[in-house]
Each structure stands twice: as C-alpha cells, then as structure tokens.
C-alpha cells in the first residue's frame, strides 16, 4: 500500500507566502497528501548511481561579455507598479527579518 504523507499546511502556506482560507487549508491538506501518496511510486525505483537531470541537454552555459547596455527609464521599470513615489516602489513598512 502506498503511504499518504501528512503535511503541515500552515507551514507550507507560510513558506509560499500565500494566505489560505480555512476551506482551502482543509481541501489542500487532503489533496496534497493524496498527490504525495501518488508520488510514492517513485520511492520504489532503484536510482542508485543515476545522475539527477536538471537540464534536458548537457551543454555548457553561455557567458555574456561584460559590456553594459542601455538601462530602462525608471518610468518604464515602474510602469505596472501598484504604488510608487519619487521613482521608487512604495511598500508598507517591513518589519525586519519577519
């Protein structure tokens, strides 16, 4: 039988910085556990010595010459900003290291 891991939905919501309603929490806790149970299939595979694959092709990453291009006007960078002042983004006060 496949194991169905219990999850700490509050912790995950905190890591993801997503406010969940009580209904969402209840629904997601169940669904995510089910899905993780479904993922247990992978635990049965022998992966000893198998290289993890992070990219489809084994090519080296390209490098860019250190030549500066034209930066954007601040107005372009802030075009969709929900709140801005003196060409800066306004955010409600951030409590240090919360």
């Amino acid at each position: 039988m496949q194991e169905r891991p219990e999850i700490d939905i509050d912790k995950l919501a905190m890591l993801a910085r997503i406010h969940l309603t009580e209904e969402e929490k209840a629904a997601f806790a169940g669904q995510v556990s089910d899905i993780l149970g479904f993922f247990q299939k992978l635990q049965e595979v022998d992966v000893e010595g198998i290289e993890p694959m992070a990219h489809p092709f084994d090519v080296a990453g390209p490098l860019r010459e250190d030549v500066p291009g034209s930066p954007w006007e601040p107005s372009r960078a802030l075009k969709n900003a929900p709140a801005s002042r003196t060409d800066q983004i306004v955010v409600p006060k951030v409590v240090e290291d919360a």
């Binding site: 635990q43 992966v47 092709f57 929900p82 919360a98």
Partner: protein, 494 residues
C-alpha cells in the same frame, strides 16, 4: 478572396493570396475579427482582441507590401497568441487575477521574431492560469469551450490557442507546452500542434511555469503552417541561456525535400489500460496508414513511462513554486488592499491573486523542495527523469520516431475532472514524458469519435529533428487528410 475563403485558408495560402494581390492584410484581419465577434461569445478563446490596433498593423503591412518592402512572404498574416508571452504594450495576464492589469513594458524574443517577420499579434488567447491545467478551466477570466462540442473542454493549458484555430478565428496561433499543453488541446480541438525540442525556441519573454520543461510552439490546421511558424520563432538566443546554441536547418525547407519512409516505434506502454477503445482503434488505423505508405513499424518499450506523471509533477511544481514567487504584490502585480503590513502584503496579494490550482501546485512544490524532503522527492524525480530520457535515447537507436495516442480519450466534459486533480493530471499521461526528455512532439488529428470529437495521435522525434518529424506528419496528412469542420463553424456560431 471572400470571407469564407479567408477563414478556411491556411496561413501559407493567405500569404500566397497576399502576394498575388487577391486579398489585403486589412481584409484578412477584418474577416477574422468579425469571425471572433460572431463566434467567440460561444467559444471563449480570446481574452482580449484590440481590433483597432490589429487593423492599424494590418494597414502598415499592406503599405509595406505595396512599396515592395515586405518583411517576409507571410508579412501581414495575423497570429493568435497565448496570453503568456511578452509583447510591449500588450496585456500579459497568464489568465490570472494577479496579472489582471499587467501591460508588458518589453517584448520577448518570440514576440520580436513575429514582429520582424511582419506577423500581426492577433489577440490574447485564454489558457489555464499560468499554464497549469489540462482543460483551460483554471483560467481566472473565463471558460473556453471546445468548438466541436461546447459542453466539452478544449483541453489545456493552451485551450484558447487550439480552440481559436479550430473555430477559424485565426489561421494559426502560438501556445506553450510544459507537459502537453500544446499537443493535448490540439488533439481535443482537431488541429496540429508542435512542441519543439527544448531549447529550439527561446523562452525569453515567456512567463515561466516550469523552466526546464517549457517550450513555445506553433498550432495550425496544416503541417506546412506549423513548420513555417516554427521557423519564424526558432533559433539561438543570447537572452536565453538554455536555448540551443547552434543554428538549425529550417523545418519548412526540410519539409519540401524528398521524404523517405522511416521506421516508427510503437511503445507498448502507451496502448495499455486507461486508453479508450475508440482512441486505440483510431491510432491503430494511423499505424496502418503509415504501413501502407511504406513506413516500417516496430514494437518498442519505454519501461519507465508509468513513472512520468509523478516525476513531472514533482519537477514542475518545484520549479513553479519558485518561478511564481515574483508575483508578490510589490512591483507590478495585484496588491491586496487588505494587507496590514509589508509581510502581510505577500500573503493577501498572493492569496487573492492566485486561483486554486496554482495555489495547490505552489504548496506542493514548496513541500517537495523543503528541507528534509528534497532528496526523497525532487532529487529522486530528477534521477527518474534521467531514466525516462534514457528510455527514449535507447529507442532512438532502433527507430526514427515514436507513434502514440496524444491523449487517452477525446475531450472530456467541462467540469468533469475539475475537483479531482490526480485524474486531471493523468490527462497528460502520454505527453509529459516528451517534456521530461526534452524531445519534440507533434499532435495531429486522425478522425472523430462516435460523438463527433476529434482524436489525435502523437509523433515523438529525436532532439532537434523537427524537420524529419514534420515530414513524417506530412506523409500522413497527404495519405489521410483531416477534412472535418466543427459544426459551430459551419453554422457560424448559430
């Protein structure tokens, strides 16, 4: 060229008609915009279509052509765009509330390539929010309906792109495919869709879902159109580190070279349980057609196929949980008015801005990457991904391409799977291995089910062998042309 002719023509035919002066870009765009107006309330493929802007671009194209300064043979042809690619001055919402008001301040590489070929961005097409889903029901804006039967889903996540092409609202369109998001809706809507080899098309400007799996690809009603649009958008890009560094031969050129019958592999794992009998028999008929035109057919095995769905969902959700962190209410997205402080701003904005499936996947992705679970889930999935790719590499030692059904069933009903994520995830069971292995995959229509819904088959090619893959597709298209039209189109929305 009359309206009917414009709507039915392939993009290449429209190009020829433009060349001969039989039609203008303004006429083409007007006819299509009228069609959208007439039929889209029924279909729901378009999120937005700025008619004035389109006609302005069309007039500019006509003027270029008149002066002999056309940018390409297809200058002036409209192309529908999944609302996930950046074009400056156009919305880019990913069908999400969180980007509801976002207007792109820049153009991505594919957008630039379209514009430099003179193609006209024609509306923003509906999709599952952030390309997460297989039915387009996860759009925060609206539902898209399958033009063949509006009770049914068009598939997803590029449901709008597939439905618009099927409904003759545009000759071709662009979609994006992370686990089947071009091919599955192409199969459901009876059109041709290609997911290119990973790295063939730049991702710069494509709002990321899962970076190591995403590819933009063309959708159309013929192999020639799909090949032509592929060539427009392909090529190395210094702005995308994962784009393939070498210039590749144009697929449309290769398409016109003599075809030799090839050897097709039939993987037993794709014809087992779970596939609907009428899909199985339709694909078996495809195999017969190939045999008739001289192809060799060989049974093969891709033994790790059964692991593809969990492997995919671990990798895709992990990458997504990180990729979607930038939508935070700070710089350019929806900002919740409820936030009490700078930290709460994240929780509220993201809580309000994301839909259920997106939240579910972010939660899942956060879990598989979290401390203590990384090795058991994410790392292990990457190792199994290697095994899945190796299955394909081994198979390609024996065959030129692999033939499978695109989906286990024709289009399901709207609402049918919406509360059951796992069953929705299984809708991609035949397409996701291709993304995991980074290979090109082509879906083509091969008939209708008893209830009149299209059935599609998939051809999987070797890396960067899109030319060969499309040749193989074309061999079928010639032998067994797909001539059906959705009733909705025939009745023109009535």
């Amino acid at each position: 060229m009359d309206t009917e002719g414009i709507l039915e023509a392939s993009a290449i035919e429209l190009g020829k008609a433009l060349h001969k002066g039989k039609v203008s870009s303004v006429e083409i765009c007007t006819a299509l915009a009228d069609q959208v107006e007439a039929i889209d309330p029924e279909v729901g493929a378009f999120l937005t279509l700025d008619r004035e802007k389109v006609l302005e671009a069309a007039a500019a194209s006509d003027a270029r052509r008149e002066k002999g300064k056309k940018l390409s043979p297809i200058d002036g042809i409209p192309v529908g765009i999944k609302d996930v690619m950046a074009i400056e001055g156009e919305p880019l919402t990913c069908a999400s509330r969180i980007l509801e008001k976002f207007n792109s301040p820049y153009t991505g590489t594919v957008g630039n390539k379209l514009l430099s070929a003179g193609l006209i961005p024609f509306g923003r097409l509906n999709m599952d929010e952030f390309a997460m889903g297989s039915s387009t029901e996860n759009s925060a804006v609206k539902k898209t309906r399958n033009p063949w039967n509006t009770e049914h889903a068009p598939g997803g996540s590029s449901g709008g792109s597939a439905a618009a092409v099927a409904a003759r609202e545009c000759p071709w369109s662009l979609g994006s495919d992370t686990g089947g998001s071009i091919r599955q809706p192409a199969a459901f809507c009876g059109v041709v869709g290609l997911k290119p080899t990973y790295g063939r098309v730049s991702r710069f400007g494509l709002a990321a879902f899962a970076s190591s799996l995403d590819q933009i690809g063309p959708m159309g009603r013929s192999i020639d159109d799909v090949a032509t649009l592929l060539d427009v958008i392909s090529g190395p890009d210094p702005l995308d580190s994962t784009s393939w560094p070498e210039k590749l031969e144009a697929a449309s050129v290769q398409l016109h070279m003599p075809d030799e019958p090839r050897k097709l592999g039939i993987p037993e794992e794709y014809f087992g349980e779970g596939i609907q009998p009428e899909v199985r028999s339709a694909v078996e008929e495809v195999i017969e057609v190939y045999r008739t035109v001289g192809y060799k057919i060989k049974k093969i095995s891709l033994p790790h196929t059964g692991l593809a769905v969990p492997t995919y969902y671990i990798i895709a959700t992990a990458e997504a949980s990180s990729n979607l962190a930038r939508y935070d209410g700070i710089r350019y997205t929806h900002r919740s008015p409820k936030a009490v402080d700078g930290i709460d701003l994240y929780y509220q904005s993201r809580g309000e801005g994301f839909g259920q499936e997106v939240k579910r996947r972010i939660i899942l992705g956060s879990y598989v990457l979290s401390s203590g679970y990384y090795d058991a889930y994410y790392k292990r999935a990457q190792q199994v991904r290697t095994l899945i790719r190796n299955d394909f590499l081994k198979a390609f030692g024996e065959v030129d391409a692999i033939l499978t059904p695109t989906t286990p069933s024709p289009a399901f009903q709207i609402g049918e799977k919406v509360d059951d994520p796992i069953s929705m995830y299984l809708a991609d069971i035949f397409t996701i291995s291709v993304n995991l292995a980074g290979l090109p995959g082509l879906s083509m229509p091969c008939g209708l089910s008893e209830s009149g819904l299209p059935i599609g088959f998939q051809l999987i090619g070797q890396p960067f062998a899109e030319g060969n893959l499309l040749q193989t597709g074309k061999a079928y298209e010639i032998a067994q042309p797909f001539k059906h039209r959705p009733a909705l189109v025939t009745n023109n929305g009535k």
